[in-house]
């Protein structure tokens, strides 16, 4: 069996128009047409979706959790990116 594995696909569903596609799991399928059909049968049996994306799991590039600190470190010190960094007098009203 192992030498002939059916490829793995990650499934993303858009629950309603106006929302973005969200990862919901994976499925096995020989090609992209069957992947979409299988994703519909497995993940949208009760009207959960308006749209499906599938992408081969092997094609996803992910960041390594071990690199988390250095990868996201620069953002922590840039507090001036947040609105609360700036002092505006109360008299000005909501801004």
């Amino acid at each position: 069996m192992a030498e002939n594995e059916t490829p793995l696909w990650e499934v993303f569903i858009r629950p309603r128009n106006g929302l973005s596609h969200k990862h919901c799991g994976s499925i096995h399928a020989a090609d992209e047409v069957m992947a979409v059909q299988a994703a519909r049968d497995v993940y949208t049996r009760r009207g959960e979706g308006q749209s499906i994306w599938v992408v081969r799991s092997a094609d996803i590039i992910a960041s390594d959790p071990k690199d988390k600190d250095e990868l996201f470190e620069p953002t922590a010190e840039k507090i001036y990116r947040h609105p609360s960094f700036y002092k505006i007098p109360d008299e000005v009203g909501h801004m």
Binding site: L8, G25, S26, A29, A30, V42, A62, D64, P65, K66
Partner: protein, 335 residues
Amino acid sequence: MYSQGLIGADGSTDESQEVLAAFQQRIDAEEKIEPNDFMPQGYRRTLIRQIGQHAHSEIVGMLPEGNWITRAPTLKRKAALLAKVQDEGGHGLYLYSAAETLGVSREEMTEELLAGKAKYSSIFNYPTLTWADIGTIGWLVDGAAIMNQIPLCRCSFGPYARAMIRVCKEESFHQRQGYEIVMTLAQGTPEQKAMAQESLDRWWWPVLMMFGPHDADSQHGDQSMAWKIKRFSNDELRQKFVDATVPQAEYLGLTLPDPDLKWNPEKNGGQGGHDFGAIDWDEFWAVVKGRGAMNRQRVEARRKAWEEGAWVREAALVHAQKRAERNRLMTQAAE
């Protein structure tokens, strides 16, 4: 449908104390563990085993109910049963997908099941002899599953917890359709009521066994609780289930087949609860070890389905390769 209290996983782990303590700290802070995060070997092994057993249970769980699809008494019941069995298949796939994030392949899991090496819930090794069994399974087997699965929605491993949220949303339909079948029989002719009672008599004890051995005899409970894979012990869940089910049976006018079942106001820290009789653990272990009425047929049915589907899988792969090749040639020609 359901994972048994875990059978036979090795939670032992050989990381240093510091590493384990750091991991435990994340768990204690209720942080979810995601597939690429560090996790102790024992945590990974326990989860692969538990999610795998759970997935196999869903897939094998389609068989006892599938047995009645062609003989459902009305079109409405048939459509509902088909949808339920399809849900079980879907639940199996959500769970296989969660297990695969831990580095085990679908093929490895399938091979284990077909070789008869993988465990699945003991309940599916009992036969479905009458139509009433379909009602009883939905009411009690799915009822027990819900009791177990709701806390699993808070499991520390993210993909398992997310799969369980989807499963729990769908499981409620299963239990309600089952109870409605039993209710229809219980309110029907004396023969129909007798059929419902006979079914309840056969399933009650095996359902209580679904929660797994008593806490004192359960080898994996403590580590799984510490890692927040489990949130309640086998006995706690079993007690909740009995207390929830007694009034449901009373409403139907059916009798739970346990002469020792009685209200005990002292139980559950003074809130009251039901005492119940001794479970036949010899039967449980015999079924787990392969000597249940249906163990052989269940694995045989899975093997037959796998073998008879081989040509479809092969043809699909060849078709996919041909299409990819044709697309490549067309792109080349266009350039």
